[in-house]
């Protein structure tokens, strides 16, 4: 059995994780403030501040999780036997671009009241804007700064992987292709005793995610560029349906592939704790090459309610959304189960516990996602609280726990493990209550992105459920802060 052991991550990675954790906590509190507003509390935000907070929360959360996921990959590939190193100047420049993005976006939303939502659904930025005009430029510019940081990091990482492993090995095509085809494209067949003919899973997973991540980022950049062009020349006009497709190719792919990046970390780190290899084989190679395509073409499920869109997109979106189940359940779920199955777990350590719960919540959130990706159900769930319900399930407790497991692996300490595990249980309890209230709201048809519920027919139940979310979110953030304390405690040893 071969598995790699990783030394600890260095100081620059610590700065990234610390920045990520700090931004995450602030954004969770913003989320709680939004739920408090929706509950009708007199301590709530004004509508303008609500939508500005929603914009910051909606860009900041996926952006933070995505950034930390890339950094996790940068740390991990450095420790491979055939090591891949991203030049320090790339990570350094990206870090300061990210800091600029955070500061700029906070200024645009908090001071300038920039409030078009994360997706800035064209032409929302230009028509009857209720915020300072400078905030539009600063908001778009800040997101662009993030985009440049993501492109730099992903591009450098993918390029270095390509230089070290070559095209065939980085996508593990030698596991899939017939020998004749493989030889023709310059690949070498696998020799059991020769590791240079194989593909470490980390390389395959990272390559797949980075290709989709770069494509997504480029679509995001295209969308921003068109918006900036119209800022410069207000007489310009673009097709709103095209703009909607572009922004959802970006948004859907960005959030999904970021989560897959965190899953790659799970595959890579988990074997260290279980002693059971989690390596590339033919089914893993097929599954992850399929992920490369599926994630890119599933986005039309965000555009189901535009019936003028050619219907082939609707069917493509549904097919791709359903196809996700095969790699996720047959390959990743079975692989994840293997890490703990009949493994004599007398004592669960924090890292496998966080990873296993991450997998559980990823699947739990995936079920209502597949339901919503079915057009007849989308007709009643689209843009209701059903949507934030499912993505908070796998963002907070799937994506989030995968990253926390990795963070604990890099920076945690056995001394503080007991407290960390308790903190995780508190996060699970609070998070479960929080998303349950969201699901109930979705079932009742409560629309999302409403600052207040006083004008809707089901306002009583909607406000009560918002109050439950405040409580659940409060418990969750209590657990998270405790966990952050355990990291500080671990540092002091």
């Amino acid at each position: 059995m071969t598995f790699i052991t990783y030394p600890r991550a260095g100081r620059p990675s610590r700065a990234w994780f610390a920045l990520g954790a700090a931004v995450f906590v602030v954004l969770v509190f913003l989320g709680i403030a939004m739920s408090l507003t929706q509950s009708g509390s007199s301590f709530g935000l004004s509508a303008q501040n609500f939508y500005a907070s929603m914009t910051l929360h909606g860009i900041g959360m996926p952006g933070t999780l995505f950034t930390i996921s890339i950094i996790e990959l940068v740390v991990l590939v450095r420790l491979l036997p055939e090591r891949v190193e991203v030049p320090p100047w790339i990570t350094g420049v990206s870090f300061w671009l990210a800091v600029f993005g955070v500061v700029g976006l906070v200024a645009a939303t908090f001071i300038g009241k920039f409030a078009p939502g994360w997706y800035m659904l064209y032409p929302l930025v230009f028509v009857n804007a209720t915020w300072e005009s400078w905030a539009t430029g600063l908001g778009l510019g800040s997101v662009l700064a993030f985009g440049v940081a993501w492109l730099l990091l992903q591009g450098a990482l993918l390029w270095r992987i390509f230089r070290t492993y070559g095209l065939v090995r980085m996508f593990a095509w030698q596991y899939i292709l017939p020998l004749r085809v493989l030889r023709r494209i310059g690949g070498r067949p696998i020799i059991e005793s020769d590791p240079t003919t194989k593909t470490p899973f980390l390389v395959l997973g990272a390559s797949v995610c980075l290709v989709d991540g770069i494509i997504a980022t480029l679509f995001g950049a295209w969308f921003l560029a068109l918006n900036l062009a119209q800022c410069y020349d207000p007489s310009l006009a673009f097709d709103p349906l095209m703009m909607k497709n572009i922004v959802f190719i970006f948004g859907h792919t960005f959030v999904n592939i970021g989560m897959y990046m965190a899953v790659v970390g799970y595959y890579a780190i988990s074997p260290i704790y279980s002693g059971r290899a989690w390596e590339t084989n033919i089914s893993v190679a097929i599954a992850w090459n399929a992920v490369l395509v599926i994630v890119l073409v599933a986005y039309p499920h965000h555009v189901y309610m535009d019936f003028v869109q050619p219907h082939v997109f609707h069917y493509l979106g549904m097919a791709a959304s359903y196809a996700t189940m095969f790699p996720l359940l047959v390959v990743t779920m079975i692989g994840g189960i293997k890490q703990v199955y009949y493994a004599g777990m007398r004592r669960w350590r924090f890292v496998p516990m966080a990873f296993s719960w991450g997998l559980v919540w990823w699947i739990i959130g995936g079920v209502p996602a597949v339901v919503d990706a079915t057009p007849p159900f989308n007709g009643v769930f689209h843009n209701t609280l059903w949507v934030p319900a499912h993505f908070h399930t796998y963002a907070l407790m799937g994506y989030g726990f995968f990253l926390l497991g990795a963070a604990w692996h890099f920076f945690g300490s056995e001394r503080a493990e007991r407290l960390a595990k308790w903190a995780l249980w508190v996060m699970i309890a609070g998070g479960a209550l929080f998303v349950l209230a969201f699901y109930m709201g979705g079932w009742w048809g409560v629309p999302r992105r409403y600052a207040l519920y006083d004008a809707i027919p089901m306002h009583d139940i909607a406000s009560v459920l918002a109050a439950v979310r405040v409580f659940g979110g409060g418990v969750f953030v209590g657990g998270f802060l405790t966990l952050m304390f355990t990291f500080a405690y671990a540092r002091k040893r």
Partner: protein, 189 residues
């Protein structure tokens, strides 16, 4: 609340299955078996799992296809209602005439209605909205997007009663106030 409840039940069924798997795996994680035996026990389940997912997918596609909300209808509707979404409010035109109103409440006819939803006029003075029609039991009857320069068509069978229209796409600072009260009157043809 037919559709949302069906969606919730399907979700609960999926969660129950997931919970069973979690319980079994969690229980077995405390015991030890030889690696080959463990692998055999686990990997033997991949094929039936893949087949079960395939059956589920085929079943869901067969169930969904006739229910796709965007299918064109061959029959002629009883009435055509044009829905104009603007920042921030709604206008309804029934068979070419502005809809009658009682105070702030809009009167719409009962029957098989074709809604033609749009956001007049263009991207320089309007944004995307979402037309969400909620029925007397407060459940969504139909929804579709209202986009500048496009007209989305959706059909609904309306029985007399009180309805609400809510905006289903974020459209700016007054989005949460963009509602309309509707009374459906009369009998279907």
């Amino acid at each position: 609340m037919a559709m949302p409840t069906e969606g919730l039940l399907l979700t609960l069924a999926g969660w129950t299955l997931a919970a069973l798997v979690i319980l079994v795996v969690w229980r077995r994680s405390y015991f030890v078996r030889a690696p080959e035996e463990m692998s055999h026990s686990l990997y033997g389940k991949r094929r039936p799992l893949a087949i079960a997912i395939a059956v589920f997918v085929v079943g869901m596609v067969a169930w969904s296809y006739p229910r796709m909300p965007f299918h064109a209808h061959a029959t002629t509707p009883d009435h055509v209602v044009e829905v104009h979404a603007f920042m921030w409010g709604w206008e309804f035109v029934v068979d070419g005439h502005s809809a009658a109103q009682e105070g702030d409440t809009v009167i719409l006819p009962a029957g098989d209605i074709e809604f033609r939803v749009t956001a007049p006029n263009d991207v320089h003075d309007n944004v995307n909205h979402g037309f969400g029609l909620y029925g007397p039991s407060h459940a969504i009857v139909v929804q579709v997007q209202g986009m500048p320069g496009r007209t989305n068509i959706v059909r609904a069978l309306l029985t007399p009663g009180a309805y609400d229209v809510l905006c289903m796409e974020f459209c700016g600072v007054m989005h949460h106030q963009m509602t309309a009260a509707i009374i459906v009157k009369g009998e279907s043809k």
